[in-house]
């Protein structure tokens, strides 16, 4: 089927988020032209980060576009999409990507699948997406109706980041209208208190719950996360007890994550929690209680004293990694 697949790349510093590359890799695998769309004052400067993964880079430039609201960005993208008729528009299922695609979907009246874990093309070139529903307790397979473009937010870590190939061509465009006036306006940014690695994209997450007995107990989670190069999460019980900021909460009323490795320290594994991490590839549960329900949903289980096991595991992993 005709039409390119666009990936709206999410800027992160001078480069883009890894999930944007993962989406480009998936788009390429589906066949046809792969277009990376960059939005920013000097969007072309970021082109080297995406060009090796795309047949073409569309750098849409406007002095305020990087900081612009999703309202403004959606408007720019909708205009472009109307003239160039891509087959699909992808973004990472991050706060940024989902905010943007939701508005864009409404603006275009286009079918949208948020938080897809699979994206494939049927025999007729129609796209199909799979996404978890009801907290991951079922997976829905969805098709799009109408001509498109079809919108998909792809969950981080659903597909591997691709190896770089030949660099695609870069096309610079000016944003088609004055966007500065479109609210909301960001007046302040605050970095998250917590580890250096963001939960949404972390390869490894070490989450702790009631079993670590207090805010100080999170030290063992931080230690292990540092050894793994990962981020620290928390159960609802730990957040509600005030041991950790809500931004770290994994589960129903917190965040949904899909790391390659998820280590749970002293978390019993209530369904509310598992809803936020069930798509993690490898799950390790460490708990004092051999009958903790979480073990049933883990790949590896270890029973014993967390304060002995977690630091020892961190040390062991550090040693293995050094070899």
């Amino acid at each position: 089927m005709a039409g390119a697949i666009w990936v709206v790349a999410e800027p992160r510093g001078d480069a883009v988020r890894r999930v944007s590359l993962e989406a480009l890799g998936r788009a390429a695998a589906l066949g046809g032209e792969t277009v990376a769309v960059l939005l920013g004052a000097d969007a072309a400067a970021t082109a080297p980060a995406v060009a090796p993964h795309a047949t073409r880079v569309l750098a849409v430039e406007h002095p305020t576009l990087a900081d612009a609201s999703s309202t403004a960005q959606a408007r720019v993208l909708a205009e472009l999409a109307r003239t160039r008729a891509p087959r699909a528009i992808l973004a990472g299922a991050t706060a940024w990507g989902r905010d943007l695609l939701a508005r864009l979907a409404a603006r275009l009246g286009a079918g949208y699948v948020p938080d897809a874990v699979e994206l494939s093309a049927g025999a007729d070139g129609q796209l199909e997406a799979v996404r978890p529903v009801l907290g991951g307790r079922a997976y829905a397979r969805l098709a799009f109706r109408g001509d498109g473009p079809w919108l998909v937010a792809l969950r981080p870590n659903a597909y591997p980041a691709p190896a770089p190939g030949a660099a695609g061509t870069v096309e610079r465009l000016a944003a088609p209208e004055d966007l500065a006036a479109l609210p909301p306006r960001v007046v302040e940014r605050k970095a998250a208190a917590g580890g250096p690695v963001d939960l949404a994209e972390a390869d490894a997450i070490v989450a702790a719950g009631r079993g670590v007995r207090g805010p100080e107990g999170f030290a063992i989670a931080e230690q292990l996360a540092a050894a793994l190069g990962g981020a620290v999460g928390a159960s609802r019980a730990a957040v509600d007890a005030g041991w950790r900021d809500h931004a770290a909460q994994v589960g129903k009323s917190g965040r949904t994550v899909a790391p390659r490795l998820y280590v749970a320290l002293g978390i019993s594994g209530a369904v509310h929690h598992r809803m936020g991490m069930d798509t993690a590839r490898t799950v390790v549960v460490i708990n004092q209680d051999a009958n903790a329900p979480f073990f049933k949903h883990a790949d590896y289980g270890l029973v014993g004293d967390l304060f002995q096991l977690a630091p020892a595991l961190a040390e062991e992993i550090r040693k293995l990694r050094e070899k």
Binding site: A95, D99, G109, L134, R137, A138, P184, R185, Q308
Partner: protein
Amino acid sequence: MKIVVLVKQVPDPEARVSVGGDGGPGALQVEDRWCTSYFDEVALEAALALRQRHGGEVVAVTAGSGKAVDALRRALAFGADRVLQLDDPALAAADGLGVAAALAAFVRREQPDLVLAGRQALDDEAGLVGPAVAERLGWPHAADAVALEVEPAAKRARVERTVDGGREVLELPLPALVTAQKGLAVPRVPQVTGVMKAMRAKIDKLDLAALGLPAADVEPRTAVLGYRPPPARKPVRMVAGDFPENVRTLAALLRDEAKVL
């Protein structure tokens, strides 16, 4: 100040979920246990706090039939002034965009200063309806709010929201739509007087014709082809052995078997 709150009744997160025989569009089986979506309750509570501070009216609205009405009863029990149910056969098949179209049509009738919604519903977790309603209205929105201040006279709101890797503070003119993140407010446990009032209330309904919305506007843009159970994990491997041997075994398994190190 007038605030419209978008609410939804969803399967209880502890309801049993299974996928039946053919894995087709009708294969999803969900136990008949319901609750109001948590983030919608946060939004409602935030709306009531604004009413307390600035006066005015809180109107709750939901789109759907059957159990949907319980979200409105819940809103009444919390203390909403008025509730409306958007109920139309065409909405039964609608996806998030269709629901947003119906809700936006209702908001246009009501002309509130502010619309509040949950950041996402607990069942489909799409996070679509809030921003889509704002887009249809041509309003600005702020998603995932953890703090919200409104200056009704200046027609301005200030929102602190969570973003990946931190927080940001936004300013937006009213009317606007804000979606609620955990932390914006703590949903109350309603008083029994409210519960009994809500229990006995007659809930008014509006259909698409009353909203002046053509059925074509709520036609779904996506179709469910089927459902499948989540991928099964292999049975857990309990790492045996004494300390520290068990830790070494686990680390070796993570490296050699799971290949995640």
